[in-house]
Symmetry: D2
Subunit: 345 residues, 4 copies
């Protein structure tokens, strides 16, 4: 089979550079073009010096996408810009994997209430498939537009889904206490992510109304007739990469410890990128890799379930998952180009 011809739209952010890192060693995909509005004409490696000698190509205008006979376009753009770009490109040409939040929510109204802006392509929402392979593998295979999940949702859904699908926990009163590395906040310098503000520091932020909340609820609600409702509290960790989600839930009366473990095994036991672990996982154990490590336990003293999930927010939480989706969309082995082990220590 000829290698896939792919394009990347948006080169200055972290998801863009991480896509380049992963696609660079992918055996069945070639990057044909990388575009950037703000840095057109500049070399990719002059923005990202780590790629010197690896990816030195000049960034182009989006207009050049049409001439490259592409199979697939990755959009590594801010939300709003991304939906407009999808609307412009249409779904008749190359398939699209959108890494922004613009096509993750099925309802334009919900989108508008959480993102505070009108959706410009609501008619495409129902064609978009939520790109979490562990939940939607079959639909992803046939999709023209994949909405790659957010980093917090990936970690949260993978950690909670088995408990809800198997009807083991009450769907109200769930707590997701999440902690993310700073790359999750993007490549743009801000006061809150200035090095001296974060180093040696730790705090919660975006309390009670983080945009990833409806995305998590939407996906968990697919697994149950009950309405899932949880409190999501993100915190900023003084590390570059990694998300850890600590989840607390109340099991239904009579649920046993072994049923919990069994639910995880049945749901994720065969997944190539989910590892069920016996010790509390650490974010460095998945750094640079597409793995999600998940731990679960039951506390008899308080009668609560405690589950912990970790991912690398830029890999399983963004670019790696996008490549996993690409593999599915084109009938490749799902793990192709994603077998690098974690960088630890």
């Amino acid at each position: 089979m000829k290698p896939l011809r792919v394009g990347i739209v948006g080169a200055t952010g972290y998801t863009g550079s991480e896509l380049v890192r992963l696609l660079h060693t992918h055996p069945s995909a070639n990057i044909e073009i990388i575009t950037s509005r703000s840095k057109e004409g500049v070399c990719f490696s002059s923005i990202h010096p780590a790629f010197h000698g690896i990816e030195d190509r000049e960034l182009e205008s989006k207009d050049a996408l049409r001439d490259r006979d592409l199979d697939l376009i990755f959009l590594a753009l801010p939300h709003r810009v991304s939906m407009q770009t999808v609307a412009d490109l249409g779904l008749e040409g190359p398939k699209i994997i959108d890494l922004s939040g613009d096509f993750r929510l099925r309802s334009a109204e919900v989108y508008e209430s959480w993102y505070g802006t009108e959706h410009v392509a609501p008619e495409l929402l129902e064609q978009a498939v939520f790109g979490l392979p562990e939940l939607h593998r079959d639909k992803i295979r046939g999709a023209k537009l994949v909405a790659n999940p957010g980093c917090y949702p990936t970690a949260s859904i993978l950690t909670l889904y088995p408990l809800i699908k198997h009807g083991l926990i009450k769907t109200k009163g769930i707590v997701v206490d999440a902690k993310s590395g700073v790359t999750g906040a993007g490549a743009k310098a801000k006061e809150s992510t200035h090095f001296p503000s974060v180093h040696g520091n730790f705090s919660a932020y975006g309390l009670l109304n983080h945009r990833h909340t409806p995305e998590i609820e939407q996906e968990l609600n697919r697994a149950t007739d009950e309405e899932v409702q949880f409190l999501f509290t993100p915190h900023l960790l003084p590390v570059d990469r990694g998300i850890l989600a600590t989840v607390y839930a109340e099991p239904y009366e009579g649920v046993r410890s072994d049923e919990i473990a069994e639910a995880y095994r049945q749901t994720w036991g065969e997944e190539p990128f989910v590892r069920l672990v016996n010790q509390p996982p650490s974010i460095k154990s998945v750094r640079g890799s597409n793995f999600s490590d998940i731990y679960s336990s039951f506390d008899p003293r308080t009668g609560r379930v405690l589950a912990i999930g970790v991912i690398d927010n830029l890999v399983k939480g963004a670019a790696g998952q996008a490549v996993q989706n690409m593999n599915l969309m084109f009938g490749l082995d799902e793990t192709l180009g994603l077998t690098q082990g974690p960088i630890d220590p």
Copy 2:
């Protein structure tokens, strides 16, 4: 008034050196002796080079304590060693502030079940006062033996107590998701606290059975007739100092947002070292200081209370609180020697 004559037993750990830092600028206390079993005869500053020129005295044997006409002895020792030392010293001479866990629990049985060792001085337990000034100020004033609280308990109790005392939350199903800097694990090098194991990393540890659990429950139970039961999950932050506790609880039906804020104001409004803040607090905002910053809110969507408290684990969580207790025990202004502002950034 003559300055207090104080001794410090245990010089090699972090609580020992932090006591020296704070007492060095205390206007009404002089360190007369510092002892160490393992480093007798060695200069304090050769173990702690930051104290070069500040505290160069030679470490002595515990036997020398008797000759110094001391008013107060701080014990900065591991548990087990500490209770034996208290038993040896007795309570007839200098007053004692014990920074270990040995006298914090009122029941020898509870102690033995969580610490896995027999208590050698159970008869002294009822004379020991739990040294959290915000709860036990009056008893501390008259105490001969103060059990200085643990770092996690200080943060957790200060964050939860107003809600329980005012009867606003259900006492079951409380979650304390706590995150601590590595100095909380002590000065001894271990594989789990080796720099490459912690840098860029984050994980939970000591799940479901951390020794600080009964200490928190004991103190919160004083405030209510209900039995308080909570799930306590500690995590290891890649920072040197600081604890942040994120607390989740279910309020009783009908509790209003303003009642929650009012409970905090009534309980801690006059406290010199508790700051009620309107934004989620960060650990660096209290670094090096004796402050505890506390934030609270109510989430109408999920009907849960969310409260967040931070301290510097070595100051308000250890040495600073010990100095605060000393001030109370000797009739000094409670804030004496503790007015340094936080080191931020």
Copy 3:
């Protein structure tokens, strides 16, 4: 004596907040006013949450300085803005300590060539005293305008001066390999100081032409008839505070190891804030304090002198040194308000 009445101009940067931290516990100085152009009317503690309850005053306009009967004004401003402010205030009223680079160089021409801008108050340059007390204590006592040294120069000069003054090293071919924490780059968020750019990272910057070079040369040249010339290479450390300068020099033929040690003892032996240490110093051993720790040695194998100096760039490298200068200018004990020990760990 009545406490000094001081004002701080410039509240949003790190030197401004560090001045507040130190002056807050100074026994003989009261802050009467803090000004800010960009944040007039805002509370100091809403910009710097660590100061909640410590310094909540509203920031004022510079115009209000005249009404407060001040003894001293600290300027914590960017260069250019600072010299204009000094020109506007004049030297007839309150004394001034300028923490910018605008009055450190005696020659307006040298200033203009390194800073790339005209000096607007060249006539004041000769009245300005370079505020390194270890070199200019007497002149500082009588100064109306003190130019507080830069952080790199403070570390570099303290480390090199004894060798040059005692004529022990050749004044050409000196290497200063310097490493600074990120607060040295200021409080403004930039791409190069974005947390993910710095965490886990290390690199040199500003090669061959860092603005602190002429300041170091000027001061070292006072000590010798030879022309001092050195290569200064700054590096960015992934820490918030601290500078370490590693200095390499070639001694004159016949210079002995003990002469080197003796030169340091004679030059800095009585200094309250310089500690001569026998082990390579670390930046954390001075964190939060006004100390500079200096180590020196001679390598017989290569015939080179190696000396290492450390400071906290925000204290001895900025605000602490400014307070030390204030103490001198007003006849106070030089160490007043500066006796806090380092925060280590």
Copy 4:
């Protein structure tokens, strides 16, 4: 061609786990056995949880090496243990790549004076090839025993060699100011590498007598008739991975800036893993990869050459270089299994 059958001796350290990471995705080598004296019978992934599901095999005794029909054995052992193991294995069977310091120095006497222990296999020293492919590619191809270079020497030699080989700098008075991440100090927990000792900290160590000094001198001396002599100062960076070496040297009279650049181009221009860069390199730009980035410049003001080199100490400074050597020893493409891009940010 059949995949190589390789064994790894020593599994608990960082070089052992990094070898597993790299060999896991190597297309022409299979790990047949991993041994450990202290952890025999334990799963590799229970010591290194990041490898859960990737490398779960049980660690075996060294005795089992003989039965596996191996092509190559990697020794990831402490020095002393390593030379005894080579002596025991002999050079008649599988080829050996030794990652310790035991066979890097050609002279047993020099070894003994720097390592303070007798060399037990001095007769093998002349068969050992110093495994820096950029210098000894041809000899490595035919070697039975390769001594994989140390991390500091790899960075230092690559940075200095072109200047010396082309006779551009004086061989006395060279300064190598080196900074290393903490993994360079090994996986064993020590007080000096305890997280709170290193976080927020920076210092020099091992002054004037670091064991890597003779290794660097030996290799540089091959390129010149003059005796090379330099001052090597290692510092400990608060990061996990990465080495940056800042090199200062005095060029011979009349050397021009373009000659320096040309020397680097001629010497390293065709090297697959050396990247000559135009901006000061950062350690994160090579993190996780086998690249070495090198920058050079000439300072006309002081007449000095400044060159900076970076590597990932565990990859180009250890396991990656070992794999590069393996590729050469078995006639494979030198870059096989080493094309992963850096993990940045």
